[in-house]
């Protein structure tokens, strides 16, 4: 069991978005949170990750470290890609410059390692952020709209990356408006039924 959430309710400001959400994620599973805009997908994911705490009630337990990626890429535009990837809370192990360059060339950014991230395009910045997936050893990935701003090849790379992670004993929970990217491998959690 990598993540166990029971009877989770999410409030935002003074408005209750979701209540009674149950989700348990075990190794090898891919979960997609689906629902209309504004239903609370991002809020739930932030709650599951532990970013937001005050508006979250119910029980959320992680067995292990979590890698969370939000809408914002958490990149400093003035720093190079390598400097940006040097630290991340989900990768407590220190990564060497060699490992980082390897991860960057895996996301097709060889040659951009030491350019300031601000000089890259939106899609390339997204790729830099996604390179964190390769550098982290966290078994549970929580990804908020990971396919945004990626081109077709990028989406395919990310799909393969998630599949590889899950086959290696990890698990992924993600949000997306594109249906069933992972076919039979994934399970959907429709948040519409928990909406208040």
């Amino acid at each position: 069991m990598l993540l166990e959430a029971t009877q989770v309710a999410i409030e935002r400001g003074d408005r209750r978005l979701l209540s009674g959400v149950d989700l348990s994620v075990t190794a090898g599973e891919i979960w997609q949170l689906v629902g209309a805009n504004g239903v609370g997908k991002t809020s739930l994911l932030r709650g599951l990750a532990g970013v937001a705490r005050l508006g979250v009630t119910g029980e959320i337990r992680h067995a292990t470290a979590v890698l969370y990626m939000g809408h914002a890429s958490a990149l400093k535009l003035g720093l190079s890609a390598v400097d940006n990837l040097r630290w991340h809370p989900a990768g407590d192990v220190t990564t060497s410059a060699g490992q980082i360059c390897e991860a960057l060339s895996a996301v097709n950014l060889a040659g951009y390692e030491y350019r300031p991230v601000g000089a890259l395009s939106a899609g390339q910045q997204r790729r830099v952020a996604l390179a964190r997936l390769l550098l982290s050893d966290a078994p549970l990935w929580l990804l908020d709209e990971p396919f945004t701003a990626l081109d077709v090849a990028g989406c395919e790379w990310l799909e393969a990356c998630v599949r590889g992670h899950v086959n290696g004993g990890g698990a992924t929970v993600f949000t997306s408006h594109q249906p069933s990217r992972f076919g039979a491998l994934q399970q959907d959690l429709d948040l519409g039924q928990y909406a208040v």
Binding site: R12, G13, R46, A49, G50, V51, A52, R53, L54, G55, V66, Y68, G70, H71, A72, S73, A74, L75, K76, L77, G78, L79, H88, P89, A90, D92
Partner: protein, 207 residues
């Protein structure tokens, strides 16, 4: 706090305002000297306010704050580390160069060392208070006015202790007791304010 402009801005602001004062008030050295402690301290306060008020803004916007919140140590510790780095690049430098600006305003020699020490201690408080304001208003669009209303009153005691210390030193009085009060405030702030910043960041991340 990575671009050189962020470090240079408060120093440049300090320099420009201090050079404007003799132009506005007239070059009479005696009058400048009596006004110097207050002027130097007020300008230092504004320079510090200007930069520390935006301390967490970029971290909030680019999502780094979310990641810091997930790090395996309390947010208060992260906040203290960030504020310390910020202080070294702003308040500390401001205090170090302040004697030069003191000379520019004709502050008597006896006051220069006290000015330096009082600003070293005082900017610790100012930076921490500014960071607290920044943490509280980081998710409010155009929170600038609210921020000033929140933190200027908290800065007043620091300003009073600081200017009084410098004035006492110039008049040959006893600046040590005022510096001791400032030191007490600084130490107290270092212990208490990061906890408040951590809690404020949690609230800001939540909405």
């Amino acid at each position: 706090m990575t671009s050189p402009a962020d470090v240079a801005n408060p120093l440049l602001f300090f320099f420009m305002v201090i050079t404007l004062f003799p132009l506005g008030l007239g070059p009479d050295p005696a009058r400048l000297a009596t006004l110097a402690p207050g002027v130097l301290w007020v300008v230092a306060l504004l320079a510090s306010l200007m930069v520390s008020a935006k301390l967490f803004a970029s971290d909030f916007e680019d999502g780094s704050l979310e990641q810091l919140a997930l790090a395996p140590y309390p947010l208060a510790v992260t906040a203290l580390a960030e504020v310390s780095a910020h202080w070294l690049a702003t308040g500390f430098l401001l205090a170090l160069v302040s004697p030069i600006f003191g000379v520019m305003l004709g502050l008597p020699e006896e006051g220069l060392l006290t000015l330096l020490v009082s600003l070293l201690l005082g900017t610790v408080c100012l930076t921490l208070i500014g960071a607290l304001g920044s943490a509280l208003t980081v998710n409010i669009r155009r929170g600038g006015l609210l921020l000033s209303l929140l933190i200027i009153p908290l800065n007043v005691p620091v300003l009073i202790f600081g200017t009084t210390a410098v004035r006492e030193a110039v008049l040959g009085g006893n600046p040590e007791s005022w510096l001791a009060l400032l030191g007490g405030l600084a130490l107290g702030s270092v212990v208490v304010v990061p906890l408040a910043i951590g809690a404020a960041l949690r609230v800001s991340l939540d909405s």
